[in-house]
Symmetry: C2
């Protein structure tokens, strides 16, 4: 088992409130919750607001399921940086007697893992990852590059915790820019202002942070420092149960994916990529944390911004 992170008393009490209000329901696995009607209404209203905010750019929708080809994970560097967060899909491939043995073990809640073998799929670790091989398969980028929209895509992170804002599976909505270096850098600064405006319009108290990803191990600490020094990642944080929680973020990958997938601009240069990501459950939690668990008592201007 990976390290279990206990939530603070406030986080655990907040989760209990959400459950009592029918907004989330526990499943018995830490960080895996069912969403009740009002939670989902807010999440989908937020998703629609992001759609309206991005509309002037006409991003191309390309919605991937939560499974990602294992071969891509083996290529894209994730297992070097985040081996502890990855989830892989295994399945059964035996005969009837093996099925009977597996069933006997499983029925007693004993270890049946020996009957499972690795498939060609893993759980999608980031909403934008499947876009890069898809874009590469099309050949050189059009003039001015591409802007894509992942939709509300499920992603997986192996981080069991009793903090409700640290889920193992959640929706990440990403708008992704694939173009030349200058275009991507400029686009990210436009979205920094736009994302801040969108989230402030929902009555959230925001902090901007130059941040780093949770890289694994000692080498990881160097990578994190480098990422921070070069300002490749920023996050917008809002309070959830009294603690700042990263609800939106933007990464600039430089030519990392352009190199791996040989994505070329119309001018024949290696493409750069950047993304704007919203953690939909986290934004929704920040909203319930700020405005209370009863949607009907939320400020009128917040409901209006969400068209609720």
């Amino acid at each position: 088992m990976p390290e279990f992170r206990t939530g603070t008393l406030d986080q655990i009490a907040f989760l209990e409130d959400l459950v009592a209000a029918g907004l989330l329901a526990p499943t018995g696995v830490h960080g895996v919750y069912a969403r009740g009607g009002d939670f989902e209404r807010v999440r989908l209203a937020l998703d629609a607001l992001i759609t309206r905010t991005a509309a002037p750019e006409s991003p191309e929708p390309l919605h991937h399921p939560p499974l990602f080809p294992r071969e891509q994970l083996e290529r894209n560097g994730y297992l070097g940086s985040f081996p502890h967060l990855a989830g892989t899909v295994f399945s059964f491939d035996g005969d009837e007697s093996a099925a009977a043995e597996q069933l006997a073990l499983a029925s007693r809640h004993e270890d049946w893992s020996a009957f499972q073998s690795m498939t060609e799929m893993v759980l999608t670790p980031a909403a934008c990852y499947p876009l890069y091989p898809a874009v590469a398969a099309r050949g050189p980028l059009p003039e001015r590059g591409l802007t894509l929209d992942t939709g509300d895509a499920y992603v997986f992170r192996r981080e069991p915790s009793s903090d409700p804002s640290r889920m193992q599976i959640f929706h990440m909505r990403e708008i992704v820019r694939v173009a030349d270096r200058e275009t991507v850098i400029e686009w990210r600064s436009v979205w920094r202002a736009r994302a801040e405006e969108l989230l402030r319009g929902l009555g959230l108290e925001l902090e901007l942070d130059i941040a780093s990803d949770p890289f694994f191990g000692r080498t990881g600490r160097l990578l994190a420092a480098q990422q921070r020094d070069q300002e490749l990642k920023w996050e917008l944080l809002a309070p959830v149960a009294g603690r700042p929680s990263a609800i939106a973020s933007s990464n600039y990958h430089q030519d990392h994916f352009g190199e791996i997938y040989e994505i070329a601009t119309a001018e024949g240069e290696v493409a750069h990529t950047g993304c704007m990501a919203f953690g939909e459950e986290r934004v929704t939690l920040a909203l319930f944390s700020a405005h209370g668990s009863d949607l009907r008592s939320w400020p009128a201007e917040v409901l209006a911004a969400l068209e609720l």
Copy 2:
């Protein structure tokens, strides 16, 4: 690897048309596709139509993510009936040197499965499965039982195929009734007419079939025959690339889940359960198969029914 099912020439040609029209995009894994803008518009319009159709019953929304507690799979009978279709989630739990070894193997696309161990999660095999433990946790049912709505939930089936209507991961939308025997039986017959009307209103040619689930092995053949004899499952089929494809179905589980999870009616009897399921990608494929790949040339009454 499980048996790979090759699609017919018509099915493969249909998939190529969908890809050319930007409706689906391949990922490199059979049965795992990205959905383009118009495909997703139709799927979500169908989802909204199901919501409007179910609204008079006011089903309670309870939306689960695509991960399900492994412990529940071990309890609910799935590994006896469908071991070949299940997917389990594994993850890494080693130190830095193990991570380096895993990475070295993975980078060469060699077998790194020895570094992965079984987690407490599996992929959700049916949208309604997580509802039963959730309902059981609430204690006895209210008077008249419960009607629940899974929302557009991802489910996993280990069935690699080049037939586009046989996906490994897709959205199943289920309305689920948990009540006494007579109520569940009556409710299913109401939905049989209602589902048929909904789908005929979209211009689909339907066939009704008393069906069975794809149970595993020799015992499975007996279970399938029994299910058929007792008419526990019906399906609505519509043509996709010239072959009838099950696009909606209803199962009557009798007291199977009521017994396992000890769900009791208000009167203290073991609860019965039944469900009405729509395979959203399959309905969407049937629509593109019937009306063509260009949404703008669909019959006006179909677009009107979908509010598109």
